[in-house]
Subunit: 404 residues, 2 copies
Amino acid sequence: MPDSWLDIAPDAQFGPATLPYGVFSTGDDPTTRPGVAIGDQVLELGAAARALDAPFADTVSGPDLDALLAAGRPVWDQVRAAVTAWLTDPAHEAAVRPHLVERASVTLHLPFTVADYVDFYASEHHATNVGRIFRPEQEPLTPNWKHLPIGYHGRSGTVVVSGTDIVRPTGQRKPPTEPVPVFGPSARLDIEAEVGFVVGTPSPMGERVAVDDFADHVFGVFLLNDWSSRDLQAWEYVPLGPFLGKSFATSISPWIVPVSALESARVEQPAQDPEPLPYLKGSQPWGLDLRLEVRLNGHLISNPPFSQMYWTAAQQLAHMTVNGASLRTGDVYASGTVSGPEVAQRGCFLELTWSGKEPLRLPDGTERAFLEDGDEVTITATAPGPEGTRIDFGEVTGRILPAR
Amino acid sequence: MPDSWLDIAPDAQFGPATLPYGVFSTGDDPTTRPGVAIGDQVLELGAAARALDAPFADTVSGPDLDALLAAGRPVWDQVRAAVTAWLTDPAHEAAVRPHLVERASVTLHLPFTVADYVDFYASEHHATNVGRIFRPEQEPLTPNWKHLPIGYHGRSGTVVVSGTDIVRPTGQRKPPTEPVPVFGPSARLDIEAEVGFVVGTPSPMGERVAVDDFADHVFGVFLLNDWSSRDLQAWEYVPLGPFLGKSFATSISPWIVPVSALESARVEQPAQDPEPLPYLKGSQPWGLDLRLEVRLNGHLISNPPFSQMYWTAAQQLAHMTVNGASLRTGDVYASGTVSGPEVAQRGCFLELTWSGKEPLRLPDGTERAFLEDGDEVTITATAPGPEGTRIDFGEVTGRILPAR
């Protein structure tokens, strides 16, 4: 892994092994445009590509990443190889340096147009805990859970970029003590720490995408907080699944890490028993060793291990299309809450506080069963990069505003 | 209601009371462009607007209805008033006639960009029948059903225009006789006869839309067939709702009937007991007297009455946004299967054949429990218009192709 000619501390975020894509604007120029994060700088991708006569300059000069996503794997590889060369070969420094902007000075935007949004439920630990909490009289895992990656469609119109404030949702909930539902602000507002995937290359209706074609279709990986109202959700979700308990907001991290940056993070997923049907089997491992950290008001409250997910993103893609559903550029799908086997590895308050019965005690002496107004939740992650480097995912953060 | 100067038979489809909007192309000109159906003709909207110097010409000259949808209620009213005048006042005939195209000669397209797609479950008769079939050991209606309009998000990327062939989906299903799921083509492929609504005017995240603001946000109404695989759905839907059992295809009728064409179709909805929460109450009735007809291979199999729906589209809109979820131009939501109290008023095969146990006998001597390859399903509807006229919704149709 060559070093950058930029003066990047060995431990700094976004070294040359990551090179994630985002969309930014500046105070001088409110135009939104694609960028690549490198250390504490952002490379303006379109301007650099034009300066260096790159053949893909038009593809990276739009207001967002949509054209790059649609361009497909060969172009993704070409752009990444070029940007790596520009930032590591000193011969390019003079041409590239004018197109760097201080990362602290930019505003980051939703990096692509979200088409459909699907949320899975792929952590056995999470699904088991939730089953025990929501359906204590039954087996925690439903009979289908180990045969297929359970998922549902969410609301793509309320996918927002990290840093967007989240208004506490209002709606119906039915406390067990009440004969009829009551109306008001959610009293059990939660997070779900997840990993998201964005589709670049589409697929036609009526055809399937194989597990092994994952990297031809999926452009990149990011962090996702699937904000959840547990009281709205509990009252509404039988029989057609979560709706208003989830649809008010989903936050994503602004830097999209290309799948090709994750070669050193690929690991075998946990053993699957029973053996899945053939359409859910691939020849290569797509477990990913992302290590998440969840902070509440700056205080670390959980370390969810993504490597422990029962179903991989490649299996989820194959399942999502096995019925002939098409893929579109910009389709987002997420892992579901990432929870490990340990208490301190759980990815939501529902599990961390066991439905509020065991509140978290924070260093400031306060307790949390669920989120309070003003609380800020930040999810970060890293993964192993090549030759001992580190892949950085940056963060997804959001603060709770009072209900309106 | 003035007559058109066009020679339209009194009983012809698309008289001057309907004037629905669609998007078409012709053999001469493959450009997609907005049109209005009038009798057996289509008025090319942008060309007519330019010829008549209409101030909204740009809004109706794009490749689809997106700009018109985004323009909002005052512009919708202005366009409808102008088109009505053009087609009924003989003074306009000379200017307008050159912009008419034979309806039989045009190709119709998906008329707008679908943003999010939500499907409700608003017929008490349908929900009761489905509850009896899927959960025979329980109360047919879940405890929440009469307190809120149950809904879930569907896949907007597989919403297709009427006439698109539907490939039989493949996937997992678990017959009760098998110990583990089997893989293959769906054996219980079904329709759901529904009414769809498209949002024009967006709303910001964090704010609610009131029941009484329905007509300020919703542009138009159409027919929708929510193709459903009952065997895929039954195996997957607990606990997070329908996913692959629905996501392979949803067909919509190509002509969008403006909400303002439906004044004479507005009726009181069925009485609601218990009384809904205040956010679900409006001051005006939004029941709609649409009379649906469902045909299988040309044979009438059902007459679902939309006036019998328990929850109105105005209540659904208020519910969908009560948690602060935003609306976008192009958001589609659908009623859920329209079923009346009679057997011959049921809107899907699951109910019509009682889960396949009582197959339909067709005039050709064959029977149907669920759809077979080559079957064609067509849903049509009409509603009362002003002064004894009729509002026409045209049709949504689709044919089943074998699994791939």
